[in-house]
Amino acid sequence: MIDPGWIYLVAASLPVLASILLLCLRRWNRSWTAWIAVAALLGSTVLSCIGASLFQQHIQQSRDQLQAVQPWASSITWMSLSHLGYDGIGKLGYSYDSPAIELRLGYCIDALTSILIPFIALVALGVHFFAMRSMRKELKADLFDPIAHLHRPGRYTSFFMHLSFFTGAMLHLVLADNLLQIFLCWELVGLASYFLIGFYREQEAARTGSLKAFIMNRVGDAGFLIGIVILFTYTGTLNLITVKEEVRDILGNVVMEDGQPQWRIAQLSLSDALRTPMKDSHDDAFAEKGAEAGTMCRVNHVTTRTGRKKLELAEQGSHIVVWNQETLNGHYDKPDRRRFDAYDPGRTGGHGMGLRTVPYWMLTLAGLGLLLGCIGKSSQFPLQTWLPDAMAGPTPVSALVHSATMVAAGVYLLARIFPLLLPEVLLTVAYGGVFTAFYGATCALVQTDLKRILAYSTLSQLGLMFASLGVGGWIMALLHLATHACCKALLFLGTGAVVDSCNGVQDITRLGGLRRRMPVLAGLSLFACLSLVGLPLLPGWYSKDGILVSLLSFASLNVNHLLLIVVPMVTTLLTAAYLTRFWWLIYMGKPRDEAVTNSAQDVSGLLRWPLIVLAILSLVLVWLPTPWAMDNNWLVKHWQLSEPSSVREEGVLPLAAAAEQLANGYFKSESWLRPLYEATSLSPHVLSMLLAFVTLATGVALAWNRCRNVDKPWPLSASSFQRFLFNGWYWDAWIDRLITRPVLRLGHLYQIMDRWFWDEIIHQLARLARGIAWIEKQFDERMVDGIVRQSAVLTQSGGKTLRAVQTGSLRTYVMLAMAAAILLSLVIVIWTLWLK
C-alpha cells in the first residue's frame, strides 16, 4: 500500500522546482516572476494541508482499530555500502558474510511533521506575499543603493529564486527521515541563508554578515558530522523512524497472522537501535534481568570464571547495548534462539548474538556533536553572534529565515533526536539554552537597531525552547517554536514596513510617535509583542508558560538546578522590558525626527494581509478548540502522538505528570517551594503563571517608566555596562581574541616555519640537484658528444687524406694498379713459400 505521504513530497518539491525555473528566468526582472514562486508555494501549502487532513483521518482510523499511529514513511536505497559488518565488540569493518548496509533517502510523516510542513509553508507564503510588495524597488533597472553608494540593476527575480530555494530546502529538511538527509538539507538551508543574507552584496555589512553566518554554521556542522559518523558506526543506521515491511512467503504473498499482515523491520531506526525493544518483541531473558523497554540498557563487559565474556546490566555501566538489525529481525523470526549470556565478542556479526555495545562516553560525544550542529543553526551560545549580523539581509529574509524557520531547524532536530540524547547532554542543552535566553534578553535591552533588537530577541526565545527540550518539555518547546515563529515573523515584517516607510531608517532612537500614522501596524505589533512577552490568553503565553512550568517542575525536583528556573524568570522580566521599549519607542511618544517619520504610511494591501494572516494563524494554533483548556488544545494533542516515549521515562517529566506529581505531595514534603506553595495553595501551573505574570508586569512597568517621559534617544547614557550589553557582551571580541587571532598567529608561525625551514630545505635540495645536473652536463658534453664528434672528425680527415690519391691521371691509376698487383703477387708468393 502506498501511503499518501507522497503528497508532502510533492508539496516540498514544488518550491525547489519554482526556484529552478526562476534560475532560468532571472534575466527577466519582471513582477510576474514572483508569482511563479508564490504559485508553487501556494500549491505546496494546499497540498500539505490536504496531507494534514488525510493524516488526521489516518490517526482516527488507527484509533478506531486500537492501534498505534504508524507514521507514513517510505524510502529508497541511495547507496549500498556492501559487506560492512560489525565484529563482536561493535566495530564497523569488512565482513564478507554480513548483509549490505544501506544509505537511504526517504520521507517520514508523523504527527509532528504533518502539521509542521503546512505551518512552514503558510508562514513562508505570508512572507512571500509581503516580499512581493516590499521588494518592489528591486524591479528597477537602475537602483541606487544608499548604503553602498552605487547604482546597480535590481534583482527582484533572483530574490524570489533564493527565497523559493530556501523554502524548498527547509520543507525537505522537515520531511527527511534520516540524519544524513537532514544534514544535506541542513547544508542547503545554510547555503540559501548565505545567499539571502548577502543579497545586498554591494554592502560591506551584508558580505561580512553572510560570511560570518556561513562560517559559524560550518563550525556547528562539523559537530553534526561527528555525531552522524559515531551513530552510524555503532548502530549502522541513521533512520529516525522505523520502516516496517511485510513478511512474504516464497510465492510473494503477504504472510498473515490473525488476519493482519506480519511485519518485520526492514530498516532499524536509531532510537530502536539504542533502546530496548518492547517486551513482547524480545527475549524474556533480557527482560528478566531488569532491562526495561524503551530505555537504554547500560551494561558492563565482564569475564566469567570459565573465561567467557558476557554482558552484565548495571546502573552505571560503561557501555550501552545496541540492538542491531539482525538481532531484531532474527528475533522476529525465531523468538527463543538467542540468549543474553550467549554474547560472544569473538564472533563476527553475521553468526554471533548480534548484540553490540557502544561506550557511554562515545554516545555522549555523539549527542554533544549533534547538539553543536543545532547550536550553530539556532544561533545559541557560543555560536550566537552570527544572527544579529545576519540582519543585514532584506527584511522578509529576516522574517522567514532568521526568525521563523531556519533557526528553528535546530530546535526541530533536537526534538527529533531527543531519544538519543543522554541525561548529561540534555542538561547541557538546558543550561546552554537558559544562558542564551538570558544573554539575548540583556543584549536586546540596549540595542538601537530595530532588526538587531528582534535578532537578539529571537535567539533569546530559541534559548528558551532549548531549555525546555533539555528538561523534557518536548511539546511546549515545539509549541513555542510555532507561536514564536508567527509572532516574530509578524514583528519582523512590521519592522520592515516601518523601515521602508521611514526612508530606510533602522535606528530606533530616530523613530517614535508612529501610532497615529500607522494604527493598524501599531496594533498588530502590539499584539505580537505582548504575545511574546506572555500576556495571558495571547499565543506566546501558552507556550512560554508551558516552558516555565516544565523548568519549574524540573528545578523543584532537582534542587541543584535551581538556576534553570531563576534565570528564565529573570529573562521573562527582561523580555517584557525590551519588547515594551521596542514598541513604545517606535509607536508611542512624539516623533523624535520629523524628517524621518513624516512620510510614514500605514500598511495596506499586500503588506497588511500577510500580517493579519500570521496573527490569526498564531491564535488558531492555541485557541482551538477552546482558549482556556490547554490540555485540550488540538496541536498539543496532535503532537503528543509523536512525543518520544523516553520523555516520560528518563526522569524528565512531561508537564501533566510533573504537575500532578508536584501537586500530590512533592510540595508538601521537602521542596524548596513549599512555603510559596503553602502561601498560595495553588497548583504549580498557576504558580508559575503567577510568577511569570508578576515578572513580566514588572518588566513592562520598568520599561514603560523608563520610556514614558523620554523624547530623547535611548539609552540616555552610554555607560560602559550599556556598551557591554550593546556589543553583545563583547563576545565577538572574545572570539576574535581567543580563536581568530591565535589561529592567525599560528598561521603566521607556520608561514615563518615554511619560509625558513621547509623552503630552505627545498632550496638546498634544488641546489644539490643543480650541481648533479651540472656534472651530468659536463659528462654529456665531454664524453658522449666528444665521441660522436671525434668520429666525425676522423672520417673527415681520412677522406681528405685519401682524396690525394685520386689524381685523375689515367697513367698514374694504371701504374698504381700495376704496383698493387705486383705487390699482391709478391705477398701471395712469399706467403705461399712461407707456408711451405
Binding site: L802, R803, A804, V805, Q806, T807, G808, S809, L810, R811, V814, M815, M818
Partner: protein, 103 residues
C-alpha cells in the same frame, strides 16, 4: 723443341707486360688504346693456349677467346668514340690533360 704451354704463357706474359708498359708510357690516347689491345690479346692467347693444352678448357677456352675478341672490338669502338669526343673538347689526345675526374 716442342712448343709447350709454358711457351705460350711466357709469350702471353711478355705481350701483357709490353701492353702495360705501352699504357703507362704512352701519353697519346691512341697509344694507350693499343696497349689495352695488347693486354686483351695476351689474355686471349692465354685462353687459347689453355684450350689447346687443357682438355677441360677445350671448348670454354675457345669460347672465351672469341668473347675477348668481341669485347676488344666493342671496347675499341667505344674508346675511339671517347677519344674523338675528348679531342673535340680539348683539342688534344694527351691523356695527361684529361684530369677532370681527380678527387
Amino acid at each position: 723443341m716442342t712448343v709447350t704451354l709454358m711457351h705460350y704463357l711466357v709469350l702471353a706474359a711478355i705481350l701483357f707486360v709490353v701492353g702495360l708498359a705501352c699504357i703507362i708510357a704512352k701519353r697519346n690516347a691512341i697509344g694507350t688504346l693499343i696497349g689495352v689491345e695488347l693486354i686483351l690479346n695476351a689474355a686471349g692467347l692465354n685462353l687459347a693456349a689453355f684450350a689447346r693444352y687443357q682438355p677441360a678448357f677445350q671448348l670454354d677456352g675457345q669460347v672465351f677467346t672469341i668473347m675477348v675478341i668481341v669485347l676488344a672490338a666493342a671496347e675499341a669502338a667505344i674508346a675511339l668514340a671517347i677519344v674523338l669526343n675528348f679531342y673535340n673538347n680539348a683539342g688534344t689526345v694527351d691523356v695527361d690533360q684529361a684530369q677532370e675526374l681527380q678527387g
